[in-house]
């Protein structure tokens, strides 16, 4: 079979076994790979409502047909599990060499279950898997872990690992590879619960391509478009370029989503950083866009910076000193903490302090001096860090006093740097997202800023386009391609079909891809329903609705929201409560019977 190995590895850390399980062509055609294949595997390998950190909880690494092909910007893998933070589906993306090596290690996916007795590293290569006890790696950062494993076992291994936060069970710990992260929802926590410090993969068994010359033609076209106007912003300022213009458009969240546009934003902007700091461009493996920007921190070391870091650890906390934010970001990376959740939880805590709901006087907006201490204590579960380690939703439940109204999260996942009351289609996208508040899975900011809709309203007419954008995001995460290259595709479905056919030889077509997107969303819904999801979760905190306490003058109209949400459920083929009745016929259609 071209483009696929037609199997996945089922690895049990408890007994060290590894089984190759065949994958039917129908499953691969229906779900493609990446997130699509990953959520199907998660459903197949789990039962009912389970504890995200139990040994039997599956951790899925899913690869895809485009990964390892000649197509640039495809070096990514999907990492899926039940999130210990949200207790719902968590589907993260991870970039660079690990994805390429993982695909070439001889399987389309790895499903890891069980737990090791002591801190260990899982080695995966074409000939099989080995689990080695590596207690000496405990306490090291992900970067240090990679270095040590390279020193001992060789640089040909691509390593993904966790830092101290994952070891300590912080529910928003991440896993990292070469400085890039599967960042949100506690992927690193799941690894830590398995006492799995690292996974090292080595390639050597690449897949084949059905039509090399067709692929070469597509690659030449994609490469040319990838270097044009469609990606110019990512190649030059990267996502850092969002901050100042978002501030100008009043989209930039400040002071726990309360503040408005401010002159101080200049201090964290790309325009300022490019002038005042050394900024280097970096790329993932096989990428020519180079969206990554490494900014030299106060200690002279480069720190990978992007918009979400400077928002979450900067504007959201009222901290405008670039050096402070760089240091904080570096620390989160070293400890293995999701910066968005860290920042979101801190912002929530700061507002609690302001309102007298928490007695932590140093934890106030604008106080950069406390930031590093708070991050360290969170990762170590020390002192007030034990509270911050809960995440904002659980902390709000602990604090009470109506604080849930201003914990800026959905399903427990803290909001990224887009104000949902000023980009209301995205706000709905946050609410109904299977993962929680996730701008990448939704992508509806494109619609809000397209000029075709009023971003300060919600109407049912826009839902079809909102669903279409979500579907394309799911397809991209299943192919896998980097989302930053999507504007370089002149005809999304046409180009995607062309790529898949050239690589796999399968008779993919546009209608089939649309159906795949629909099915992927059904699978996500089924998984969440099994974990206890209810419609009441598909909402936003009261702060973002008009008339709520402390709400924006431009808050979301609750009636518009309800109508738009219902319309979304209709488009998805779910009932009025957003539920999908998974009868036998549907399960068969979804290859889950």
């Amino acid at each position: 079979m071209h483009g696929y190995h037609a199997s996945y590895r089922l690895i049990d850390l408890a007994d060290g076994s590894c089984r190759e399980v065949p994958l039917e062509p129908a499953v691969l055609q229906n779900y493609i790979g990446g997130v699509g294949l990953g959520v199907w595997l998660l459903l197949k390998e789990s039962r009912g409502n389970y504890d995200a950190l139990a040994p039997e909880a599956p951790l899925v690494f899913a690869f895809a047909p485009l990964v390892g092909s000649a197509l640039n910007t495809s070096a990514k893998a999907a990492v899926l599990s039940k999130s210990p933070l949200t207790h719902r589906l968590n589907d993260a993306m991870l970039s660079s060499g690990f994805a390429l090596a993982g695909k070439a290690s001889g399987a389309d996916a790895m499903v890891v279950k069980g737990a090791c007795r002591e801190w260990s590293t899982l080695f995966v290569e074409p000939s099989g898997t080995t689990i080695r006890a590596t207690p000496e790696l405990e306490g090291l950062s992900a970067a240090e872990t990679e270095t040590r494993l390279h020193e001992e076992w060789g640089e040909e291994w691509n390593v993904i690992s966790i830092g101290p936060a994952g070891e300590n069970g912080i529910p928003f710990a991440l896993m990292s590879h070469d400085g890039r992260h599967a960042g949100r929802g506690g992927t690193g926590t799941v690894m830590g619960a398995k006492k799995l410090k690292a996974v090292a993969v080595k390639g050597g068994r690449p897949t084949t391509v059905a039509d090399s010359s067709a692929l070469a033609e597509i690659q030449a076209r994609l490469q040319k478009n990838s270097l044009g106007a469609a990606t110019e912003k990512y190649r030059t300022t990267g996502t850092l370029g969002n901050l100042l213009v978002f501030n100008r458009l009043n989209i930039l969240p400040t002071l726990n989503f309360r503040g408005k546009r401010t002159e101080e934003a200049q201090g964290l902007s790309a325009e300022h950083l490019f002038r005042e700091k050394k900024v280097h461009r970096a790329t993932c493996a096989d990428c020519m866009i180079g969206c990554e920007k490494r900014v030299t921190g106060p200690d002279g070391k480069p720190v990978r910076m992007e918009y979400e870091n400077i928002f979450a650890l900067g504007s959201l906390l009222g901290i405008w000193d670039a050096d402070v934010v760089l240091e904080a970001s570096q620390l989160c990376d070293r400890l293995g903490l999701d910066t968005i959740t860290m920042g979101g939880t801190l912002a929530f805590a700061m507002e609690c302090v302001e309102r007298g709901l928490l007695d932590l006087p140093d934890l106030r907006f604008g106080n950069g001096a406390i930031l590093l201490d708070a991050i360290r204590k969170t990762a170590a579960r020390e002192d007030y860090g034990e509270l911050l380690a809960l995440g904002s939703r659980a902390l709000a439940q602990r604090v009470g006093g109506g604080s849930e109204a201003f914990a800026a999260q959905v399903k427990g996942l803290e909001m990224p740097g887009y104000h949902p009351a000023r980009l209301q289609t995205l706000g709905l996208g946050f609410a109904v997202g299977s993962r929680g508040a996730d701008h990448n899975k939704s992508g509806a900011y494109d619609l809000d800023l397209s000029g075709r809709v009023d971003r300060f309203r919600l109407d049912e007419e826009r839902i079809a386009e909102m669903v279409e954008i979500e579907n394309q995001a799911a397809i991209i995460d299943s192919l896998i391609l980097c989302k930053f290259v999507r504007r370089a595709l002149t005809d999304f479905y046409g180009d995607s079909v062309e790529m898949l056919r050239a690589i796999t030889g399968f008779d993919f077509d546009q209608e089939g891809l649309r159906t795949a997107a629909e099915k992927i969303h059904h699978l996500k819904k089924i998984f969440n329903q099994r974990q206890g999801w209810r419609m009441e979760e598909d909402t936003l905190p009261a702060r973002f609705f008009a008339g709520g306490e402390g709400a924006d003058a431009e808050g979301i109209d609750p009636a518009e929201f309800a109508a738009a949400r219902k319309s979304y459920y209709d488009y998805r083929g779910w009932d009025a409560r957003g539920e999908l009745r998974s009868d036998a016929r549907l399960l068969q259609r979804l290859d889950l019977a």
Partner: protein, 294 residues
């Protein structure tokens, strides 16, 4: 080789939205870097005096190699910048130039002509902060003010000052082109700038006065945050942008493709891709990339 030469960078006004003071643009590079490159070889020693924070360490490393950069003490407004700075340099200083550290308004073409006109005639460029800045291409001729013993240089429209060998001289500007305007054209605010642009055909004074806000790579590369223009619709504003900053062509698609890769917001609330969208007096047109993923 002559003696010490110096450039004094005076503070100037900061632009709105926190746009930092940036050295003057001058074609493909800024005027300060160009002056240093041209004048440095003929001086025994070159000094730049700049207010704290006006020149970033990165800028100094890239463009001011071999030049001693010293902080300029906090200064009063007006021509005191020249006096204060010159006092620090001492009487053995050969020639001194004083420049505004900001100036989002000047255009490359004017400065190019000015510089070309100046360099054969004088040892240094003298433009005192607080005096009217020269917009028009002009030839500077030497003159002398007698009895200059006062601590403050006199200010006057149409004249520029040069510190030479411990004495102040002033330069009387004359128009380069016969028949051109003889009075110095001031550029102290957006309205004056718009008038100058209209005079030189960059935009049409009959159109509404508005401001184009640049972000991201465009701002970084042009050094311009706010561009006061006359434009009656979005397309006209972009056409003016391209004429004023021809180097920005590299970062901009064809006008007809602008709507695909950029978004336009008028006054920060609505968003459009319609190049024919009308503009009104006082509007702020915000230009930003359509790629807003984070």
């Amino acid at each position: 080789m002559t003696r010490r030469g110096a450039i004094i960078l005076s503070e100037g006004n900061r632009g709105a939205e926190g746009a930092p003071p940036l050295p003057w643009r001058f074609g493909e590079q800024d005027l300060l870097a160009r002056l240093v490159a041209e004048i440095r070889p003929v001086l025994a020693e070159m000094v730049v005096l700049a207010p704290a924070g006006a020149l970033s360490p990165l800028y100094c490393r890239r463009f001011l190699e071999g030049v001693a950069v010293h902080p300029l003490p906090e200064q009063a407004g007006g021509g005191a910048a020249l006096w204060e700075g010159a006092g620090h340099l001492g009487e053995d200083c050969g020639s001194v130039a004083v420049m505004r550290a900001d100036l989002p308004y000047l255009t490359a073409g004017f400065l190019e002509e000015m510089f070309a006109a100046l360099t054969p005639e004088v040892e240094g460029v003298g433009l005192a902060e607080g005096s009217r800045r020269m917009l028009l291409p002009a030839v500077y001729r030497r003159g002398r003010l007698s009895g200059l013993e006062t601590r403050q240089p006199p200010l006057g429209a149409g004249s520029e000052w040069l510190w030479e060998g411990g004495r102040m001289t002033f330069l009387q500007a004359e128009p380069l082109q016969p028949g051109g305007p003889t009075a110095a054209t001031p550029l102290d605010n957006a309205e004056e700038y718009r008038r100058a642009l209209a005079h030189f055909g960059f935009c049409d004074s009959g159109h509404p006065a508005m401001t184009l806000e640049l972000y991201g790579n465009l701002r970084i590369k042009t050094g311009c945050a706010l561009l006061p223009l006359h434009a009656e619709r979005i397309e006209t504003a972009f056409a003016a942008l391209r004429r004023i900053f021809p180097e920005a062509e590299r970062f901009l698609p064809e006008v007809s493709d602008m709507g695909e890769h950029f978004r336009f917001s008028v006054n920060g609330r609505t968003v459009t891709t319609d190049l024919a969208h009308p503009l009104s007096e006082g509007d702020h047109l915000i230009l930003f990339s359509a790629s807003v993923g984070g």
